[in-house]
C-alpha cells in the first residue's frame, strides 16, 4: 500500500512540476501576476510530494518490504537500521529519487528565501527548476521507478553491497547530490536572466549565495567520497580519476570558475555573458555526469547497473535542457551590454585568467574521460586512459592557477600595475622558498616536484596573510590591529580561508605522494615490523561476528620510540550475502600522518592462527587533503554569510522606494 502511495505521489509531483514549469514562465512573459503567483506554492507542493514519496520508499526499506523489487535488490533483514535507510540511495532508482528530493528542496529553499527578489524573477527561476524536475520525474516514472512490485514478494533481500555498508554511504551521496543538484539553482537564475533580458549586477548578487552554497556542498561531497575510498578500499588510494569521480570534479571546476566570475559581475557588471555561460555549463556538467554514470557508455567501478533505454532517455533530456539553454544564450548574448571597463592588467583580467585556466582544466578532464569513447567511436583503436595521464597533465595546468591565486588579491579593480603587485608580494617569496627547500629535506628526500608543490602552497598562505595584513593596516583607522582584523568583511575572510584551504590540500597531496611508505610482510603472532619509525606488533587474529557478517579480527600494537600508543584492529569480513571478502583497514589518524594496517590472507589457509600477510602504510599529511577541502568549504560558507546577502540588512541599505512598488 505504502509503495503505491509513494508512486502516486511521484505522479502527482510530475503534474505539479509541469504546472510549475509552464504557468509561472508564461505568466512572467505575459505579465499575468496570477500565474506568476503560482510559482512559490507549486514549488512547496512539489517538495512536499517528493519528500512524501521518498519517505514511503524509506519505510519500505525500514520495514523490510521485499515485495518491492528495489528493496529486495538492495536490502536484507539482517542489515543494520542505518544501512537500511542509507540503502534507499544505494542503487540507481533510489539515488534518482534522492536527486529529485534534493532538487525539490533547493527549489523550496529558493521559494522561501527570496522575498526580496521581484516576483517575476522568482517565477522564472522556479519555473525553470520545475521544468528540470518534470524531466527527471518523467525519467523516473518511465524507466526507473523504485516502487516496482515483485509478486510474489521475495523471502529475503539480496543485501546491500558490502562495500556500501559503511557510514560513508550515509553521508557522501546526500552531500554530493546537494552540491550537484544545487548548481541547478545557479542555472535557473541564469535562464531567468536570459529570458527576461535582464542581465545585470543585481542578478549576480542574488545568484551568488545560492551558487556558493552549492559549491560548498559539492566540495564537501567530493572530499567525503575521497576519504571514504581511502579508508574503505584498504590500499590507501584517495583519488582514481575514475569516470564517476571525474563526473563530479568537472562541475566543481566549472563551479569554482563561476563563483569567481560572479564576483566580477556583481562588483563591476562585467563578464555577464561569460558568467551566464558558466552557470549553464556547471549544471550541464552535472547532467552530463548523471548520463555518464548511468548509461553504460564508460566503465567505472562506481557505475550503476546500466540499461541502454535509460541512456537514451537521459541523452534526450540532456539535449532538451542544455540544447535549449545554449540556444537561448546564443540568441540573447549579443544584446547584452558590455559592463565596466578595465585595463589589461587588473583584478578583472586576472580573475578572467583564472576562469580560463579552470575551464581548460575542466576541458582536460572531459577530454581524458571521453577519449576512449572517442577513439572507439572513430574506429581508431581501443585505449584506456587512467591516472597516469591525468596526474601527468593536471599538475602543469594547476601550477599557474595556484601561482595567480597569490597574486590576484593584490591587484586593484579596474586598473592595476605589475610593479605595484610585485612589490606587495615580494615578502611572500622568501618564506615560500624556505619551506619548499626545508620541508622535503626534513622528511628525507628532496625532489623538484615535491618542492614545487610546497612552494606553491606556502606561496598561497604567505600571500594570503600578507594581503590580509595589508588590508587591516589600511582600514585600521586608529583601532587595535586585532579589532581592525575582526571587523573585516566576511567575504574577505572567506576568500583567504578558502585559498588557504587549497594550500593545505596541496601540501597534503604533495607530502603523501612523495613520502608515503608501505610494507608487505608476513607476520606470525608475536612478530613485528617497522615502517617510518612506527613499530607494529602482531598479536594474533580472532573470530568475531557482526550483524550480517563473520570476521577475522586482527590485533596490532602500535608503538613509537618504544612507547606504546594504541591497539589497532583491522578486519577481514565475510558478509553472509557475498562471496568476496572485505577488508576493513585499521587507521591511526593524526594531524601530521596516518598509519594504516590491513590484513591480507593467512599464509596457510588451514591455520589462521599462524602467519598472516599484512600490509602497513605510513601516510604523512594525508588528512590535510580532506582538511584542506573542509577549510575551502568553510571559507565559502563564511563568504556566503557576508552582510551584503543578508535579507534584513538589505532593507536598510537599498534606496527607499514608494510604498506599493517592488524593490529592484
Amino acid at each position: 500500500m505504502i509503495p503505491e502511495l509513494g508512486h502516486f505521489a511521484l505522479i502527482l509531483a510530475a503534474l505539479v512540476a509541469l504546472l510549475l514549469g509552464t504557468l509561472p514562465l508564461l505568466g512572467a512573459h505575459r505579465n499575468r501576476l496570477a500565474w506568476v503567483a503560482v510559482a512559490r506554492p507549486a514549488a512547496s507542493a512539489l517538495a512536499l510530494l517528493v519528500t512524501f514519496s521518498f519517505a514511503c520508499l524509506t519505510q519500505a526499506f525500514v520495514a523490510n518490504d521485499f515485495s518491492v523489487v528495489y528493496v529486495a535488490q538492495h536490502s536484507n533483514s539482517l542489515l543494520p537500521i542505518q544501512y537500511r535507510v542509507a540503502g534507499v540511495w544505494g542503487g540507481h532508482e533510489g539515488s534518482l529519487l534522492l536527486w529529485m528530493l534534493m532538487l525539490t528542496w533547493w527549489a523550496f529553499a529558493v521559494a522561501l528565501l527570496s522575498r526580496q527578489l521581484p516576483e517575476v524573477m522568482v517565477a522564472r527561476v522556479l519555473g525553470t527548476l520545475g521544468l528540470v524536475a518534470f524531466g527527471f520525474l518523467l525519467f523516473i516514472l518511465m524507466t526507473s521507478s523504485p516502487f516496482e512490485r515483485l509478486l510474489p514478494g521475495a523471502a529475503e533481500g539480496r543485501d546491500l553491497n558490502p562495500l556500501l555498508q559503511d557510514p560513508g554511504l550515509v553521508i557522501h551521496p546526500p552531500l554530493l547530490y546537494m552540491g550537484y543538484v544545487g548548481f541547478s539553482v545557479a542555472f535557473a537564475f541564469a535562464i531567468a536572466a536570459l529570458l527576461s533580458g535582464q542581465l545585470d549586477a543585481a542578478w549576480a548578487r542574488w545568484s551568488r549565495p545560492w551558487t556558493m552554497a552549492a559549491w560548498c556542498f559539492l566540495t564537501l561531497g567530493i572530499a567525503m567520497g575521497s576519504w571514504w575510498a581511502y579508508y574503505e578500499l584498504g590500499w590507501g588510494g584517495w583519488w582514481f580519476w575514475d569516470p564517476v569521480e571525474n563526473a563530479s570534479f568537472m562541475p566543481w571546476l566549472a563551479g569554482t570558475a563561476l563563483i569567481h566570475s560572479l564576483a566580477v559581475t556583481e562588483k563591476r557588471g562585467s563578464f555577464k555573458n561569460w558568467t551566464v555561460l558558466l552557470a549553464i555549463s556547471a549544471f550541464s556538467l552535472s547532467l552530463l555526469g548523471t548520463f555518464l554514470v548511468r548509461s553504460g557508455v564508460l566503465t567505472s567501478v562506481h557505475a550503476f547497473a546500466t540499461d541502454p533505454r535509460r541512456g537514451v532517455f537521459i541523452l534526450i533530456f540532456l539535449v532538451a535542457v542544455i540544447g535549449s539553454s545554449l540556444a537561448l544564450f546564443a540568441w540573447r548574448a549579443p544584446k547584452v551590454g558590455l559592463g565596466g571597463r578595465f585595463a589589461l592588467v587588473s583584478r578583472e583580467s586576472l580573475l578572467l585568467t583564472n576562469n580560463v585556466l579552470l575551464v581548460v582544466a575542466c576541458a582536460t578532464v572531459l577530454l581524458g574521460t571521453l577519449y576512449p569513447l572517442l577513439i572507439d567511436a572513430l574506429g581508431a583503436g581501443k585505449i584506456s586512459v587512467g591516472p597516469p595521464y591525468f596526474n601527468a597533465v593536471f599538475v602543469p595546468l594547476m601550477t599557474p592557477i595556484l601561482f595567480l591565486m597569490g597574486v590576484a588579491p593584490f591587484a586593484r579593480w579596474k586598473e592595476a600595475s605589475v610593479p605595484e603587485i610585485a612589490r606587495a608580494v615580494r615578502w611572500a617569496l622568501l618564506p615560500a622558498v624556505v619551506v619548499a627547500i626545508a620541508l622535503p629535506l626534513i622528511y628525507g628526500a628532496w625532489s623538484a616536484l615535491t618542492a614545487l608543490g610546497l612552494l606553491l602552497a606556502a606561496w598561497i598562505v604567505a600571500t594570503a596573510l600578507l594581503n590580509f595584513a595589508e588590508r587591516v593596516r589600511h582600514t585600521r583607522a586608529g583601532r587595535s590591529f586585532l579589532a581592525a582584523a575582526l571587523s573585516q568583511p566576511r567575504h574577505f575572510f572567506g576568500m583567504h580561508l578558502a585559498h588557504i584551504g587549497i594550500a593545505v590540500f596541496v601540501v597534503g597531496v604533495t607530502m603523501v605522494s612523495s613520502f608515503q611508505e608501505e610494507k608487505d610482510v608476513k607476520m606470525a603472532p608475536g612478530e613485528s615490523v617497522d615502517v617510518a619509525g612506527y613499530h607494529f606488533t602482531f598479536k594474533g587474529v580472532r573470530a568475531v561476528d557482526g550483524p550480517n557478517y563473520a570476521a577475522a579480527r586482527g590485533e596490532f600494537d602500535l608503538a613509537v620510540d618504544g612507547r606504546f600508543v594504541r591497539t589497532m584492529h583491522p578486519e577481514k569480513r565475510n558478509y553472509h550475502s557475498s562471496a568476496m571478502p572485505m577488508t576493513e583497514a585499521a587507521i591511526d589518524a593524526g594531524v601530521l600522518r596516518d598509519v594504516y594496517v590491513s590484513l591480507g590472507e593467512p599464509i596457510d589457509r588451514a591455520r589462521p592462527e599462524g602467519e598472516w600477510a599484512v600490509r602497513v602504510y605510513y601516510k604523512p599529511f594525508v588528512d590535510w587533503i580532506w582538511g584542506g577541502c573542509v577549510l575551502m568549504a568553510l571559507g565559502g560558507l563564511v563568504a556566503m554569510l557576508d552582510r551584503r546577502y543578508r535579507i534584513r540588512s538589505r532593507a536598510a541599505a537599498t534606496v527607499a522606494t514608494p510604498a506599493g512598488s517592488q524593490q529592484a
Binding site: L357, S384, I603, A613
Partner: protein
C-alpha cells in the same frame, strides 16, 4: 573458541581458496628486488577483468596469472620494455594504464597544452580589444547629463 576459529575460516576461505591478493603475494615474495620491479610494472598495466584497476591492485584470476607471468619474465632476465610489449601484443593498447604516445593519442596528450595556449591567446586578444572598445565611450554631453538626472529623479518602475 578453538574450534570456532578454524570453522569460520574454513567457511570463509572455502570460496576464495585460490584468490590470493597482491599483499599476500608481496609478503610471500622470495626476491624483494624482483617484487619491486613487479609492482612497478603491474602499476602500468590495466586489469582487463576489473577494468578500472591495475593488475597490481586487482585480485581477479587473470591479474594473478599475469603477475605470475611477469615474475617469471623478470626471472628470465627480460627488460621492462620487453615485458610491456609482451602484454601489448596479446591484449592490445587497452592494457596500458598510461596511454601510449602515438598517432591516435596525439590529441589526448597534446590537447591540454594546446587548449591552455589557445585559451590564453583568445583571452589576451579579447582583453586588448575590450580595452580599446570601451575607451571609445565618450563622456555625456551637458544635454544628456541633465536628461539622465531627470530620469534618476523619477520613480524606478522596477
Amino acid at each position: 573458541m578453538k574450534l570456532l576459529l578454524p570453522l569460520i575460516f574454513a567457511l570463509f576461505f572455502a570460496s576464495t581458496a585460490t584468490a590470493v591478493d597482491s599483499a599476500t603475494e608481496a609478503a610471500l615474495a622470495a626476491d624483494p628486488v624482483a617484487e619491486k620491479r613487479l609492482q612497478h610494472l603491474s602499476e602500468e598495466l590495466r586489469c582487463l577483468v576489473c577494468q578500472n584497476q591495475t593488475i597490481a591492485d586487482s585480485n581477479a584470476e587473470l591479474a594473478q596469472d599475469l603477475r605470475r607471468e611477469i615474475r617469471g619474465m623478470i626471472r628470465d632476465g627480460k627488460s621492462d620494455r620487453e615485458i610491456i610489449d609482451f602484454m601489448v601484443v596479446r591484449y592490445g593498447d587497452f592494457v596500458l594504464y598510461r596511454p601510449p604516445v602515438q598517432g591516435n593519442t596525439l590529441l589526448l596528450w597534446g590537447g591540454p597544452l594546446a587548449l591552455m595556449l589557445l585559451g590564453l591567446a583568445v583571452l589576451l586578444r579579447y582583453l586588448r580589444r575590450r580595452a580599446a572598445r570601451v575607451a571609445d565611450d565618450a563622456p555625456l554631453s551637458a544635454d544628456e547629463a541633465s536628461r539622465a538626472e531627470a530620469l534618476l529623479k523619477e520613480d524606478n518602475p522596477k
